[in-house]
Subunit: 435 residues, 2 copies
Amino acid sequence: MSRLLQLADLHGSLADPLLDAMTFLNEVTGRYPEAISFAPGRPYEEFFDPADIPVFLAEYLGHLREERGLTEHQVRQEVFQYGRTKGLIAPLIARALAADEAIEVDPEALVVTVGAQEGMLLVLRALCAGPDDVLLVSSPCYVGVTGAARLLDLTVRPVPEAGPDGGLDPAALAQAVRELRAAGQRPRACYVVPDFANPSGASMDEPARRRLLQVAEETGVLLIEDNPYGFFGRSGAARPTLKALDGDRGNVVYLGSFAKTCFPGARVGYLVADQRVVGPDGARSLLADELAKLKSMTTVNTSALSQAVIGGMLLRGGLRLREANEPARQFYARNMDTLLAALDLAFQHLPGVSWNRPEGGFFAVVTVPFRADARALDECARKHGVLWTPMDGFHPDGGGTHQLRLSCSYLTPEQIVEGVRRLARFVAERLPDGA
Amino acid sequence: MSRLLQLADLHGSLADPLLDAMTFLNEVTGRYPEAISFAPGRPYEEFFDPADIPVFLAEYLGHLREERGLTEHQVRQEVFQYGRTKGLIAPLIARALAADEAIEVDPEALVVTVGAQEGMLLVLRALCAGPDDVLLVSSPCYVGVTGAARLLDLTVRPVPEAGPDGGLDPAALAQAVRELRAAGQRPRACYVVPDFANPSGASMDEPARRRLLQVAEETGVLLIEDNPYGFFGRSGAARPTLKALDGDRGNVVYLGSFAKTCFPGARVGYLVADQRVVGPDGARSLLADELAKLKSMTTVNTSALSQAVIGGMLLRGGLRLREANEPARQFYARNMDTLLAALDLAFQHLPGVSWNRPEGGFFAVVTVPFRADARALDECARKHGVLWTPMDGFHPDGGGTHQLRLSCSYLTPEQIVEGVRRLARFVAERLPDGA
């Protein structure tokens, strides 16, 4: 008879509803396979073809042999063996960052990570050293960040977004930093997604980005900029990232992901950390080097195989990804247009129902005059065949109880229209007057 | 001018020599490319061919289409998208475990991880919840474990091995548990490599394994069994793993790795955790489910691409790996024989120099009458062209200062013979009489 462990004896994060929420997000789709799902923040998958994988791999191997002049022995080593903890394809990523985002950075300041998630974990671990250290997060916030903080027993302080479409509020960050310091705590870093945030869909305009950088400069709080959706603006015009605006001033650690611009199954992301670190003996390193030391304790290396395939995709795209993603951008932009038009049609005359108008990305938020929780979701899926994500799990200190997140990335326009129709029936049923 | 961070403000692990030791292990080879290196615990790489990767991938895709009956849409989803946090190939791994190790386990009790390293991190995090919780480790110990513990700020208590060839001493574990409890601490788990341990090369015989399981049963301390080298015995005869001996009694969490039996660049490992966990409401889950929740905060998924390639290798090997690894076993066995013979020849008449006689695996340990530290290593590499690993970094509470680890996995027999010759010249130089 197998041993019984008490949940109460295991790490506290496992009894935290937050982690259940994340598991729930990952697996809810499987529970109602026939439902139209606005739940997962997944890329549309008809862009992918398994037959491309050997092609991308061959492209990267050709690059190693021809451009880098590696012998067959070295090629074998690169793909099959343990490699540098910082990763293999940092030089290719640095060139793509320069072309796509005007971010100029030494490849040595990059660490290739197992998705942006590992990058978050490493950055949080390095920066938050003791019980007085505090991580600030935009609120609502991606659960991957608050979850990683929970795993490390960190203290998290939410900073509100400026209205339904405004993104993180720089003045609110400055205020939170003052309050924390007055209480004897050390605000260390602030996590923010300036473009089409998950879950809110909100974006910061350029003046707000500049004000945020100024707050970081003045307070010494590092900004952790996460940018998974930046290519996918509805208008096609892109705003500069915080990292690009900051240049080499070191106020920003940048997290990048290939999950949406290449594919999630590779699990390849990266971080840019060009801050200098000085030890007690005066020796200097890059923050990236320190983060790589931590990575040797989490995953040792990012899959060399995955890096080779992503490297091949970068090479085939001419070491820039934005153009290669233009068909995807148009697809997602049309989906968001479709979603917003469908919401207008379904809800514009319903009192108490409102929604925001994201400028791009995968997500929009609908506010309803009833509790939109896991129980409501389950009923909605069962009775009306449509899935969405409750917003309460994205609020570290409560809130979002009457909001639901709709993701439009994974569906066709036809599915979006039908999905909103079904959602409207569910909402109508729940309204006080039954309208 | 980029921002300057003080190392003292970052997490304490970054100022710990342990993490430098790990980085050092990974990168020392690059510093002396011409030296013969007994340092890295890498598999021999002439077994690998990049042309095999598309073949393995095709094998797995064929399995999805034909045996599992997936549509092209589902195949695409499996390889490219986010997937179940527990992983895709757990059913294939479970079948290989049954064939290779007589470990019978429900695939639902498996989590596919980014190498065994991520498995360690997850298990340590789940089991060590508070400041009184203690992780016991065999001493000397693999730095990946003590490093992961440091990253999580865990308390580590070393348990000595029983002599140079004996592996972890069960009586010493029982004693350590008593002492910890008497001091008001909670010993939670004990990390052990029963077969050909890294770094000592020592193995536990079957009676010792049974005694260890009895200590676990009596004290409630979970055993974390790590088994990267188990296939590579010199005699070919394999001892049963702790997990196989324990059956379904739940005293063991088993960590597996494909780094040595397939290849490191895939970064695919797994854990088996069939313990049942009961919550305050009486709800039950498997420990594997709880560990998967933590994984959603570290890496979300293990690379689907890497899992597909490893899955293809498992399928091509008839869902067993031991036979497919017989040529590798013979290669490593011959290397270890060669190493031990060369050590006999070089050192048998030198007073104060001794070494152990591992029954297999990648590592042996030489004891010398002088400090075998990083400085000695650097001189040895520079003057004599041979690299090894100082043992002091593997001792959590000091020790090993006069020992060096030799890894024979990555070299040819000819290189081993020449390497030991060079090492003998270095040692002779350092002996008191200059002999």
